[in-house]
Every structure is written in C-alpha cells, then in structure tokens.
Symmetry: C2
Subunit: 348 residues, 2 copies
C-alpha cells in the first residue's frame, strides 16, 4: 500500500539586500539583536538610534570562530526563550560572518524556524556571508559541519560600519570580491584593477557589484547542487590552509587569497588561464596586501586533507577553476601529481 504526500508548491523565497538604507528598517515584532562585544561597543548605539522596533533585547556572544559552536548557539536560543520570543519574533545578526552564521542557524531552529535579518559589519560578510542563507556552527570534526539553509528576511549593508574595520580584515573582504570577479565578471575585474577600494565611491560600487553576483548565483541554486559551488573558488585549498594553521595564522579571506593562487596554478597547468591572467589576479591580491603563497609541511598531507572536507562526496575532489578571467570550469578528474605540482608551484 502506497500513500503519496505531495506538498503544495512552496512560495519561492524572495528578499532584498539594502545598501546604505538601514534608517528604513522597521520591524513590527519582538526582536533579539545578536552581536559581539567589539561590534556592540563600536556600533550598537548607532544601530539602536536608526532602528524602528516594538520591543528589543540584545545578546552579546564572544567574538571569534572558536565560539561558533553548540554552546554559544544554545546560549542564544536560551536567551530567546527567556525573553519569551515567539514564532513572529525576529532575530537580527549584527556583526561579521560568525555572528551571521550562528544567528541564522538559531533562527532556523527556534520553534522550527523564525525570521532573521542580517546587518553585516565586516566587508567579508557584506559581500559574501550575509547573502545566501548558509548558516552553521563548527564542531570537533570541522567548520560549518552542522547548520541549515535559511534565507534572511532582509539584509542591510551599511558602509558606515566598515570605517572601524582593521586594515587586515578589510583586505580579507577584498579577497572575496576578487573571487567573484575572477569567476563571473571580467569587466568588474578590470574595473577592480583600476579602482581604489579605500575610497567611498569605489567601495560602494564594489560591494554592490559583489552582492549582485552572489545574489544571482544563489537565486539559481540555493542548495549548492550546481553553479553555487563556483563560489567556492579558492576555498577547497583555503580550508586546508586554515586547518593546517589552526585558524590562527590567516583570516578566512587571506586563506582564500592563497587558495585562489593555488587554484590558478592548477588552471594555468591545465591551459584554462594564461600566464598573464595568472599574474593579473596575483597582482590584484598583492595590491591589498593579501598573502599569495603558503608552504605546507607535507604536500601529501595537504592533498589528503581535501578528502576530509564535507564537499568531497564519494572521494572525488571537485576543483573550481577560472577559465580565463570572468568565467569558470569545474573539474573532478585531476590526478594527484598535477594537483600537488600546482600547490608546489604556487609557493614558488
């Protein structure tokens, strides 16, 4: 005996990323703002002065990737219950990627899912992490291994919050901007080569362009069954670099810069990009003082670490490579020797 269950077509999810329009944010519900001590001390007052909201509470959780775990998640959830949030309440993620990932995850499982709003305060999270609905926490087995796909109700990117960002963190954000340009938009890449992201005007344009690219990709492929994987360009290598250096030596964006150079070595070896294209990407990364080389303790261990990554289903590694600037190729049939040779060359 078979009984079919056919769920009605779910309404397609829609939301808007607002750039420099935070003063228009109006929420007719109870709100919990999740932030960290650094962001709270720098920007909470400004946020509260702009926000039109019925009732709000604030929870600050410790800053940093090491606190993106079950314990902090639980602290956030318990605070929501203590303040009697209900199914109509809204969480606000006010901080960088760590705050965004945890707040989104908490929203997705609080009473089986409530709305959340992203107000990213770092360049990295404005151009990348805040759009796309990937949420999660780390555990002993790795990063973002527990989480959900949960789209925000809206995203508010304010360039004002970036003024206090340390230079190194700013550059780490630039790495993700470069990532989008290399794989999706040659014109944007050429513009970036001439631009100065330390000026307001150029920065706003770069943020808006990156969000547009990211939004287009996510709109086509929310759950990373296809094109969304291209956003991982540089990341397969970066994850190993971060792991080997215990997430201490490099910021995520810095590791991505190194990862892109490694991927580009591989792409050049396979004839997908030219020497001059390789040099142009590296020069752009260097312009923002991003690291472009890394020496693994062991090339074999570096290679083996790919297979611990959650994306390596069925023991084949999927490499996202540029295919001239502005386009991409996905390869999963590259032999070990070629990969290792590329990692070695990236270090030259």
């Amino acid at each position: 005996m078979k009984i079919p269950v056919n769920l009605s077509c779910v309404k397609p999810k829609k939301y808007t990323v607002f750039v420099n329009e935070l003063d228009r944010l109006d929420i007719d519900a109870k709100v919990m703002i999740v932030t960290n001590p650094t962001v709270a001390s720098l920007h909470l007052e400004k946020l509260l002065s702009l926000l039109h909201v019925k009732e709000f509470h604030v929870i600050t959780v410790p800053d940093g990737e090491v606190y993106k775990n079950f314990e902090t998640l639980n602290t956030i959830l318990e605070k929501c219950f203590e303040h009697r949030l209900d199914r109509k309440s809204v969480l606000i993620a006010f901080g960088g990627g760590v705050i965004g990932d945890m707040t989104g995850f908490a929203a997705s499982i609080f009473q089986r899912g409530i709305d959340f709003i992203q107000i990213p305060t770092t360049l990295l999270s404005q151009v990348d992490a805040s759009v796309g609905g990937k949420t999660g926490i780390n555990n002993a087995f790795g990063k973002n291994l527990i989480g959900s796909f949960w789209q925000p109700r809206a995203v508010y990117c304010e360039s004002a919050f970036l003024k206090t960002l340390p230079k190194r963190e700013f550059s780490a954000g630039v790495a993700e901007i470069v990532k989008m340009a290399v794989t999706f938009d040659a014109d944007f890449f050429a513009w970036l080569e001439k631009a100065d992201l330390n000026t307001h005007e150029d920065l706003d344009y770069a943020i808006t362009s990156s969000i547009r690219i990211k939004s287009d990709v996510v709109a086509q492929d929310e759950k990373e069954m296809g094109i969304r994987a291209v956003l991982n360009y540089g990341h397969t290598f970066a994850h190993v670099v971060e792991n080997e250096t215990k997430y201490e030596k490099y910021l995520h964006g810095e590791a991505v810069a190194i990862g892109m150079v490694m991927a580009n070595c591989l792409a050049q070896k396979l004839g997908l990009i030219s020497k001059s294209e390789f040099d142009r990407v590296k020069a752009l990364l260097k312009k923002y003082n991003l690291p472009t080389s890394y020496t693994p303790a062991s090339y074999d261990s570096f290679y083996d670490a790919f297979f611990l990554d959650k994306k390596s289903a069925n023991n084949s590694i999927k490499f996202i490579l540029p295919c001239s600037i502005g386009s991409y190729a996905i390869k999963n049939d590259i032999d070990k020797a070629t990969v290792i040779a590329s990692i070695r060359e990236a270090n030259d």
Copy 2:
C-alpha cells in the same frame, strides 16, 4: 540601493508512505540507523534482514522523552561524523516518536541537511508523528521548542513491528486515530465505532486511513499556517496535562484523549456538537481504555499554562474544536470563564 534576491521556485516536496512494503527498501548510500535499545533488541535483526543497503551503522540512544535533548542530538551527529557520513548519506529513524523527531532533526542540520527515512515502530508514530516533517527536541523551556520542518525521503509503516507493542502504548496510538476521524472524517469515525483494531485487517485499514488524512492535511499546509493546526485538536489541553503530571503519569496519546474530552466539553458548550456526539467520542476512547478525565490542582493555573505554549502567539489561545463529528472549528475568542467551566465539566 536595493538588490533583490529571488530564489527560483523550489521543487514541491514529494514522498511516499509505504504500508507493509519494507522489503522493497533499497538504499544506494551510506546509512546510519538511529534506534533505542528496546526496539533494537526486538526488531533490529528483522530490519537488517529486509534492508538492501550499501553500508550501514547503528546508533542506539536511550529511550524516552527526557532524552530528546541537545545532548542526545549531539551524540547522534558525532556518530555520523565518526563514520564519515557525507551529504549523500541517509539517516533511518527506527523507533517511536522520540527517535523520529531527533533523527529528523539531526538529518536536517547534518552538513546543512541530508535525507532521512522514517520506519516508525509504534502505532502513534505510524499514524501521526512519522508523516509531516515536524522534527525537534525539548529543552528546559518546553517540548519541541527547538527543531525544524524537514520532510522524510520516505516512510515505511510495518504492522509487524506493532505486535510487540504494550497494550497501553497501542491505545495511546488509537487516540490519535480517533483525533483524525473526529475532525476530518465522519465515515471513518462511524467505521471505528464498529471496528476492532486488535484484528490485523481493521488495524491496517485504520492506519492507512489515518495516514491518508494526515498526508492530505500536511500537503496543503506544511508549516502550520492554517489547516494543519487542526491536527492539534485535543493537544492544547493535553500539553498542560502532560506538563502538570511531569510527563510521567500519561502517555502522550492518553493526554490527548483527555484533551479531546475537554475540547469537546467546550464545543458542546458553544453548540458545536451535541450531547450524543460528545458521548460517542467518549465511548470510543473508553473502548480502548483511554483516560477521559483529569482533575487539575488549580483551574486557574491550568488556564494560565496555555499561554506558555509556543502556539499561543500574541497571547490569544487558538482552540481547535469539533463541529459535529467529521468537521472542525477554530476559535480564538473564548472567554476564560467558559474555558474553565469546560475543563471542570470534563472532569465530572
């Protein structure tokens, strides 16, 4: 500046509930079977003899609602990582409602969501909990307060597994069958009055009919924005009864039986059902030795407890009431005195 993110229309979710077809289950992926010691000792051998699967592991977690918490959830997830499950792996929930809720929740957050299959082994979970995708765990603030909507890939209901079910648990399952009939299907209710669910034939028909009703409802309203709330008939009262008796005195289905009688008192008071309809429902519950009365320590406290329930958004209580047998009414404007009078009468 506004950038829209319009996610493509998600494919409507579809799955099948198979009744007595477990021998056809064939899974081409790594599988983690989540069960408890009782079910494992009684039925795991049989399950493994029927299952066609590439590679499997088994985790047994302690039996009972008190273990439906973050700690057990974490144990399940860690086991999945230890055995290197990936995004194509499948969890199997092999047990009652507690196992189903936790396994479904684990599946929904493991690497941002993998498939799971329900093989419910209690009558209650076969007719109710296993269909519909509500997953979750309890915390200090209440039941099922953390969780997700995550539909199974398939559900396999086997009447063979019900043979070992204690009489009391069997009756608790019957309560949910009665619930579906009272609110949705007068013919099914009339059939139940004459049936003997201790016979195979009648039991199979009752299970199949209940699943059909549940599936129809869930298909229309996955996230309980409307009609799905009707499945909570009896439950608003039952949750308070369970809470007051610390989940020790009554099985969930037993509390639902009491809750339905309370709801029916209210329905009768409001002229929605007749005295004879009230009596027919009560008689059917008594036929399966289900409790039909309960004396709260304080009627005021009982009433106040409604407002702690997660469904009581914005401080109004939504009562699901029968409207003659086979139909329902949803009321959220009933005054306190009438509600308390009904709870009191249910106890007469």
